[in-house]
C-alpha cells in the first residue's frame, strides 16, 4: 500500500477482500469494529499483522489521528509529591522582601487548606532560600538548583499557571493521570494507546517506569496507569532497568531462546489442533500473543541493556544512569523505549513532598533529576527525535508561598497548593517560552490559567487527537480524558 494511487489500491483491496473473504482473525477483529474508534488501534496491538501487507510502515501506522499530529510520542516525567515551583521556577522576590510576614487575607481569598495547615495560626510568607537567575532568549527564571535544565531554557515551554481542584496527593495524581479524582478511569497513556495504537510490534504502547528520591515520598498507585474500562491491552506495562525489566519476561534458568522456540512451535501445533476442532478465532489470537511475547523477550533486554550506550550519552544523563532503578537510568530507558516506538512512556519519581526541611530535600531531589531531565531533551534533540516527541515535566499540584511549621531563613516547609504551579514541556509542537503569569505572591494566577483539563486537551491535540472526539462508550455514557471540560490552549503550541 505504499505510495500508489489510493483509489485504485483500495478498489483492489476491496475486491480482494470480497473475493477471498477475510481471514479469520481479521473477521473476528472486524466484528469488534462496531465498537467504534479505538478498534483499529486495538487491532494493531493485538495482531500486528492484521492489515496484511507486511511492510514496516504499514504495520506502523494503523491508528486514527483526527488531524496531522505535532508529536508522535510522549515521555512524561512525573515529579510525584509536588515540587515547589517557588524554589525552582516561579521567582517571587516579594516573598523574600516580606519574609516572615503574614499572607494577606486578600491574597488567600479563603482558599481551602489541607488538614495539615488548616489549624495553623499563622501563615508566614517564605521566600525561597535559593538564588534565581535568568537564562535563554526568553530570559526565563530558574533557581540555582536546576543548572542543567536552565541550560536548555530555549527548548522549554514553561507553564506557570497550571491549576487543579485537588489538594491531596492521591486524588490530585489520579486527576492528572486519568482526568478524574476518583473513579478508576483510563489513564492518559491508555487513552493514547486506545486512540493511536502501537508504532511497533515488539513492545507495549504504554510503558511505566518508577523511581524514588530521598525526599518525603507519597507512593504511586497502579490505578495511575490503569486501562480503566478500556481493553486491558491498553494498560501501562511496568518496565525497569533491573534484572527482570518486564514482569515475567525472563525465561526461567535452564531455558534458552532456542529451547523456548521449540516449546512454542509445539504449542502452536497443539493449539492448531484445537482450532481445527472449534474454529474459535480466539485460539489464533492466543497463538499471536505467544509470538508477541517471544519477540518481547528479545526486544526488551536489548532496550534495557545500557552497556552499549556510548560515553557521551552517559555523560548527558550522568553516571547514575548506569545504576538500575534510578531516575537517570529511567530517563535513558525512556529515550530508548520512545525511540523504539513506544507511544507513551510514563515516569514517576517520588520524593517532592516538602512539608518540612524543604531546602534540604529539594536540593537532593534536584541533584537526582536535573541533569538527567535535561540530558533526555538534549539526547532526543541530537537524535532528531525531539520534534516528534513531547516531553512533559511536572507534579500534581504546587506548594504554598507560606511556611508550614517553623520558618527559618534556611529551613521551612510548604504545604500543598492547587491554585498555581509550574509544569514544563519540550519538543513535539510546543512553543518555547513562558506561558501564564502568577501574582507577585505566587499564590494566584494573574493571567492565562491552564486547568488540568485544558492541559490534557492540549496534549491530545499535539498528538493529533480531538479531545472531544476521543471517546469510549461505557455504561451508557461517552467518556473522555477531559470529562466534559477542557479547552486546547493555543498559546502553548508552536
Amino acid at each position: 500500500v505504499r505510495g500508489v494511487d489510493g483509489n485504485i489500491k483500495i478498489i483492489f483491496m476491496q475486491k480482494e477482500i470480497l473475493e477471498h473473504g477475510l481471514n479469520i482473525n481479521r473477521r473476528r477483529f472486524l466484528s469488534r469494529l462496531s465498537l467504534g474508534i479505538g478498534s483499529v488501534a486495538l487491532g494493531s496491538l493485538l495482531i500486528p499483522d492484521l492489515f496484511g501487507g507486511g511492510s514496516e510502515e504499514e504495520l506502523a501506522v494503523t491508528g486514527l489521528p483526527h488531524f496531522a499530529p505535532r508529536a508522535k510520542r510522549i515521555i512524561y516525567l512525573f515529579q510525584n509529591g509536588a515540587p515547589s515551583q517557588l524554589d525552582l521556577f516561579d521567582y517571587k522576590p516579594k516573598l523574600n522582601e516580606m519574609f516572615g510576614q503574614e499572607l494577606p487575607a486578600s491574597v488567600r481569598m479563603g482558599q481551602r487548606l489541607t488538614g495539615m495547615t488548616a489549624d495553623q495560626k499563622k501563615f508566614p510568607l517564605a521566600g525561597s532560600y535559593f538564588k534565581f537567575n535568568q537564562y535563554g532568549e526568553h530570559r526565563m527564571w530558574f533557581s540555582e538548583l536546576l543548572p542543567h535544565i536552565a541550560a536548555i531554557a530555549d527548548d522549554l515551554c514553561v507553564i506557570k499557571t497550571l491549576h487543579t481542584e485537588a489538594i491531596n496527593h492521591d486524588p490530585a495524581l489520579t486527576f492528572f493521570q486519568t482526568g478524574a479524582q476518583v473513579g478508576n478511569r483510563p489513564s492518559m497513556g491508555a487513552w493514547l494507546s486506545y486512540g493511536l495504537g502501537s508504532e511497533n510490534k515488539n513492545l507495549p504502547a504504554f510503558c511505566v517506569l518508577l523511581s524514588k528520591g530521598k525526599g518525603n515520598g507519597q507512593g504511586v498507585y497502579s490505578k495511575l496507569w490503569t486501562n480503566g474500562f478500556l481493553d486491558s491491552i491498553h494498560q501501562g506495562v511496568q518496565f525497569s532497568s533491573r534484572e527482570n525489566p518486564v514482569l515475567y519476561l525472563n525465561n526461567p534458568e535452564g531455558i534458552d531462546k532456542e529451547d523456548r522456540r521449540k516449546m512454542l512451535d509445539n504449542l502452536s501445533a497443539l493449539n492448531e489442533e484445537s482450532y481445527k476442532e472449534f474454529d474459535d478465532p480466539e485460539i489464533h489470537t492466543k497463538i499471536q500473543q505467544y509470538e508477541m511475547a517471544y519477540r518481547m523477550q528479545t526486544a526488551v533486554p536489548e532496550i534495557t541493556d545500557m552497556s552499549k550506550e556510548p560515553e557521551d550519552t552517559i555523560k548527558l544523563y550522568g553516571p547514575d544512569c548506569l545504576i538500575p532503578g534510578t531516575y537517570a537510568a529511567n530517563c535513558l530507558l525512556a529515550r530508548k523505549l520512545s525511540e523504539n516506538g513506544v507511544r507513551f512512556v510514563q515516569l514517576y519519581h517520588q520524593g517532592w513532598d516538602g512539608h518540612g526541611n524543604l531546602p534540604g530535600e529539594i536540593r537532593g531531589q534536584c541533584m537526582d533529576t536535573d541533569r538527567a531531565s535535561a540530558g533526555l531533551i538534549t539526547d532526543l534533540k541530537q537524535r532528531g527525535l525531539l520534534d516528534e516527541t513531547l516531553v512533559i515535566w511536572g507534579g500534581e499540584f504546587g506548594r504554598t508561598n507560606y511556611c508550614q511549621g517553623e520558618l527559618k531563613k534556611d529551613n521551612y516547609g510548604r504545604d500543598h497548593h492547587p491554585r498555581c504551579f509550574t509544569v514544563w514541556m519540550a519538543g513535539g509542537g510546543v512553543k518555547p517560552g513562558v506561558y501564564g503569569e502568577t501574582d507577585e505572591f505566587g499564590y494566584n494566577i494573574a493571567e492565562n490559567p491552564v486547568h488540568v483539563h485544558d492541559f490534557h486537551a492540549t496534549i491530545l491535540h499535539l498528538m493529533g487527537l480531538n479531545h472531544e472526539q476521543l471517546t469510549f462508550k461505557h455504561l451508557g455514557r461517552r467518556y473522555r480524558l477531559t470529562d466534559v471540560f477542557g479547552k486546547v490552549v493555543n498559546g502553548l503550541m508552536a
Partner: protein, 774 residues
C-alpha cells in the same frame, strides 16, 4: 509522505468498516414488521438526542425534550406551528425532517455535538415508527417482568427435535430459528464435565470424577454430577468471586499509604451464604440492613460489611467531610450498579442525562447511608486500625458459636467495619456533587422511576432493603439473573450488566430474562435452583464448536448457537494450576495470603509507611491457596491477577473484560507458580508405574480435563523424547530446570526424566484450551 500513507490507511480502514457492517448487522437492512419504541427507537433517541433533549433540565436545548411523550407531541416552542412528531405523518414531523436533512444548520443531531448523524437504516426506522403511530412505551427495565408462555418452537428443524431440556431452551431456539441458526448437539462428556465443574466450583474435575462420570451411563448422569458438584464447599468460593467484585472487597485501605485492614471475615460470610444457599432476598437484606433486623445476630450485622469495603483514606491533611461524602458516593454507586444495574451515579452532579433520575433522587438514595458515625478520616497511617467505626467485635466465643464459618486461627478479639444506624443526619443535594456545597434538604427515598417508595417502607436502610427485594421491583431479580448468566455464558442477556437504563444494551432474549427473573422470585429467590436450571439446559450443554456460518451470522454468539467458550477468570487459572498439580490447599476462608510475586513491586510503589510497605511472602501451605485468597493491596494489586483482567477492586465492578495479551503468555511460561506446579506434577507422575505415554495422558487429563488425541499425544511424546535426550546428553541442565518453587524436590528420582516430563507438563499448561472453558 507518511501523512499521505496515513490518509490512505484511514481510507482503507473506512472501507473495511463498511464491509464489516455486513458481518455485524445480522438483522440486515430489513426493517422490522412492527417498529418497537423500546427496542428500536429509544436506543437511538437515548444515544443521539437525550443529551440535549432529555431528562437533564440544565442541558436541555430549545425547551424541548424527547424522553417523555407529553413534550414530544406538544407544539414546538422554537418553530411555530411545527410538531416534532405527527403520528402517521413522517413528512410533517420536524424530527424526521431534521434527522434526514443534510443541511448542517438544520440537521439533527447538531454537528457540534459530535454525536454523529443517524444511519440511513436508523432514519428509515424512524419513518416507519412515525407511520405506525409513533407510540411511546415505558422503558422495558422499569416495568415488572412477566412470565409469558413458552414460545412455540419450529418442529421442522431436525436438530431441535429432542434437543430441548428445559424452559430456557424454548426461548433460545425461537431466536435461533429467526436467524436460521441451529443449536449444537451436546458437548462430549469430558468437555461438559470440565465446563460444569469450573462453573460450579471454579476447579477442574478430579480424574476420579472424570472416570465416574464417563462410566455412568444412566440417563441422569449429568444431573447427578451437577448435584454432587453443587454440594461441594468450593461452590460457595466460586460464587463468591463475582460478589467480591461487586462489593469491591480488598485487604487494604487504598489511597496513598494503603495500610492493611481486616475485612476478610465478611468475605468468609459470603462464601458461607452461598454454600448455605441463603435466598437472594435475604442475602441482600442482610447486607443492606442486617444490623436493623429485630434482634439482629452477629452474622446479620457482619453482612453489612458490604457497604464498608470501599477505600478509606489515611492521607495526612485530608478534609474529613470531603471523604465522608466520598464514601457515601461509593456506597450509593455500589448499590446502584451492583444491585440495580443502574448508572445512578450520573445524577450525582446533575439530573441524569438519559434515565429519568433527578439529582434529588440520587441524594435521597444516598440519604439512606448517611446515618452512621462513620468518619471521613480517623487519622493517618500511624494510627491505622484493622477496622474503622462503626465496627463489630468478633470474639473467639463468636467463632465457636454463631460465626463458625469464620476461619480465625489466632486468639483475641477481631474487628470488622460494618453499618450502624447510630446517628441522624440531614442530607442535602450537593451542588455539582461537591461536598461543601449543600443546597436543598432531601428525605431518604429510593429511585421513583424504578418503583415508588411507598409509605409502608420505613425511611431507613431497612426500608431500602424491603423496597429492593419487593416482588414488584422490576430490577433486582433481573439484574442478578443476568449477572449469573454472564458468569456462566461469558455475556449477559443484557450485555451491559451494569446499565439496565436507556443507554444500556437491550436484552438479547428479553422474554427469557423475564421468565428466569420471575421464576427466581417464585422459587423464593433460590440461587442454587437458578444455577441448576441454567446448567441443566440444553443451551448450556451444547458443544462449543463453531462454523463459518455461525461465525458469520453471529460472531459474538449472542444467540447461543453453540456452547460458551471463554477464558477462565484470573483466580481460576491459578486454581486450575494448583489443583491439577496436586498442590492446592483447599482451606476455606481466613486472612488473605501472599504467594510468589515478582520482587520489589510493593517496595517500588510505597510511600514507605504502614505495614504493607514491603511484601513478605508466605511460606509452606499458604503458598498454595486458591486465587481468591491472594492478598489484595489496592495500590499494587496482585500482578498476575490484574494481567488476567481481575478487578483491581477500586470500585464496584459487575463485569470483567476477557482480553488476550502477550503478558498473559509470559505469565503462563515463566510464573514460578506454573513452573513449580509443572515440576511437582512431573515428579508425581514419575513416581507412578506407567509408560511415558500414560504419564503424558494423565497430565493432559488433569490439566485439559480430557484425553489427548493421537496427534496431540504424539507431538508431546516426541517433545518428551527430545527433551530427555537433551538432558541426558547434558545439552540442557536438569538441575537448573527443576529448581523453581519452594515445594521439596524428590532428588531420589532420575532428575533428567523429571525435567523432561516437567517441560511437557509446562507446555500443556500453556495450551489455550487449558485455561479455557471449552
Amino acid at each position: 509522505m507518511k501523512w499521505k500513507l496515513l490518509t490512505l490507511l484511514v481510507l482503507i480502514i473506512t472501507t473495511i468498516v463498511v464491509i464489516s457492517s455486513c458481518f455485524t448487522k445480522s438483522s440486515g437492512d430489513k426493517l422490522p414488521e412492527i417498529v418497537s419504541f423500546n427496542f428500536h427507537i429509544r436506543p437511538i433517541l437515548s444515544d443521539k438526542c437525550f443529551k440535549c433533549h432529555g431528562p437533564d433540565v440544565n442541558k436541555r436545548q430549545g425547551q424541548f425534550r424527547l424522553d417523555i411523550p407529553d413534550s414530544a407531541f406538544a407544539p414546538l416552542k422554537e418553530t411555530k406551528g411545527a410538531f416534532a412528531l405527527v403520528p402517521g405523518k413522517p413528512e410533517e414531523s420536524e424530527l424526521y425532517k431534521r434527522i434526514s436533512s443534510t443541511d448542517t444548520s438544520y440537521m439533527m443531531p447538531d454537528p457540534d455535538s459530535h454525536l454523529g448523524a443517524l444511519t440511513e437504516y436508523e432514519i428509515k426506522l424512524f419513518k416507519k415508527w412515525i407511520q405506525q403511530g409513533a407510540h411511546y412505551e415505558t422503558h422495558w427495565a422499569f416495568t415488572a417482568p412477566k412470565k409469558i408462555p413458552l414460545p412455540h418452537v419450529s418442529d421442522k428443524d431436525p436438530i431441535a427435535i429432542g434437543w430441548v431440556k428445559n424452559e430456557i431452551d424454548y426461548f433460545i431456539l425461537q431466536k435461533l430459528d429467526e436467524r436460521n441458526l441451529s443449536p449444537n448437539e451436546e458437548a462430549d462428556k469430558e468437555r461438559l464435565l470440565k465446563r460444569v465443574s469450573l462453573d460450579i466450583t471454579g476447579l477442574p474435575p478430579s480424574v476420579e470424577l472424570m472416570d465416574k462420570f464417563l462410566n455412568d451411563k444412566s440417563a441422569n448422569a449429568y444431573e447427578k454430577v451437577v448435584d454432587e458438584l453443587m454440594n461441594m464447599p468450593q461452590y460457595g468460593e466460586k460464587m463468591a468471586v463475582h460478589w467480591l467484585d461487586v462489593a469491591r472487597y480488598a485487604d487494604s485501605y487504598g489511597y496513598q499509604d494503603d495500610n492493611i485492614r481486616t475485612q476478610w471475615p465478611w468475605r468468609d460470610w459470603v462464601i458461607h451464604a452461598f454454600n448455605k444457599n441463603i435466598p437472594y432476598d435475604q442475602f441482600l437484606t442482610w447486607q443492606i440492613a442486617g444490623d436493623m433486623l429485630p434482634n439482629a445476630t452477629k452474622e446479620q450485622i457482619l453482612a453489612t460489611g458490604f457497604f464498608r469495603n470501599h477505600k478509606y483514606t489515611e492521607e495526612g491533611g485530608v478534609i474529613d467531610e470531603e471523604y465522608r461524602i466520598e464514601y457515601l458516593l461509593d456506597k450509593t454507586k455500589t448499590f446502584g450498579k451492583g444491585i440495580l444495574g443502574l448508572t445512578i451515579e450520573c445524577a450525582q452532579c446533575h439530573d441524569h442525562k438519559y434515565d429519568p433520575f433527578k439529582q434529588k433522587d440520587y441524594y435521597s438514595l444516598l440519604a439512606f447511608f448517611n446515618n452512621t458515625k462513620e468518619k471521613g478520616y480517623e487519622g493517618d497511617v500511624s494510627q491505622s486500625k484493622p477496622a474503622k467505626k462503626p465496627l463489630i467485635n468478633i470474639s473467639d466465643e463468636d467463632v465457636k458459636t454463631v460465626l463458625s464459618f469464620i476461619n480465625k486461627k489466632d486468639t483475641g478479639t477481631m474487628t470488622v467495619s460494618v453499618m450502624n444506624e447510630d446517628t441522624l443526619r440531614k442530607t442535602f443535594i450537593l451542588s455539582r456533587g461537591v461536598y461543601n456545597m449543600p443546597t436543598t434538604e432531601v428525605q431518604p427515598g429510593a429511585i421513583p422511576a424504578v418503583m415508588k417508595f411507598e409509605n409502608k417502607f420505613p425511611r431507613n436502610r431497612m426500608g431500602l432493603a424491603q423496597w429492593t427485594v419487593d416482588r414488584r421491583n422490576p430490577l433486582t431479580a433481573r439484574v442478578f439473573v443476568n449477572q449469573l448468566w454472564q458468569e456462566i455464558f461469558g455475556r449477559g442477556i443484557v450485555k451491559t450488566t451494569g446499565d439496565f437504563g436507556m443507554q444500556g444494551e437491550l436484552p438479547s432474549h428479553p422474554e427469557l430474562l423475564d421468565w428466569l427473573a420471575v421464576d427466581f422470585m417464585e422459587s423464593g429467590w433460590n440461587i442454587k435452583k437458578l444455577v441448576k436450571k441454567i446448567l441443566l439446559s440444553a443451551t448450556y450443554r451444547q458443544s462449543a464448536k463453531t462454523t463459518d456460518d455461525k461465525l458469520k451470522k453471529d460472531p459474538e454468539n449472542i444467540y447461543l448457537s453453540h456452547g460458551p467458550r471463554t477464558r477462565l477468570n484470573a483466580e481460576f487459572i491459578r486454581d486450575m494450576v494448583l489443583a491439577s498439580s496436586g498442590l492446592l490447599n483447599k482451606t476455606i476462608g481466613g486472612p488473605s495470603v501472599k504467594p510468589y510475586q515478582p520482587k520489589g513491586m510493593w517496595e517500588a510503589a510505597t510511600s514507605g509507611r504502614g505495614v504493607l510497605a514491603t511484601y513478605k511472602q508466605d511460606e509452606g501451605d499458604a503458598l498454595y491457596r486458591r486465587g481468591m485468597y491472594t492478598f489484595i493491596k489496592l495500590t499494587v494489586p496482585p500482578p498476575s491477577m490484574i494481567m488476567f483482567d481481575a478487578s483491581n477492586r477500586d470500585q464496584c465492578e459487575v463485569k470483567r473484560l476477557k482480553t488476550n495479551t502477550p503478558l498473559q503468555a509470559l505469565i503462563m511460561m515463566n510464573d514460578p507458580t506454573v513452573l513449580e506446579a509443572s515440576r511437582v506434577l512431573a515428579q508425581k507422575l514419575q513416581g507412578e508405574s506407567s509408560t511415558p505415554e500414560e504419564k503424558i495422558t494423565k497430565a493432559f487429563r488433569l490439566i485439559v480435563c480430557r484425553k489427548p488425541s493421537d496427534k496431540e499425544l504424539s507431538i508431546l511424546k516426541k517433545y518428551y523424547d527430545e527433551q530427555l535426550q537433551m538432558f541426558r546428553q547434558k545439552k540442557l541442565d536438569a538441575m537448573t530446570t527443576i529448581k523453581e518453587g519452594e515445594y521439596p524436590l524428590n532428588e531420589k528420582l532420575d532428575l533428567n526424566v523429571s525435567a523432561a516430563i516437567m517441560k511437557v507438563v509446562n507446555t500443556i499448561y500453556n495450551l489455550e484450551e487449558a485455561i479455557t472453558k471449552t
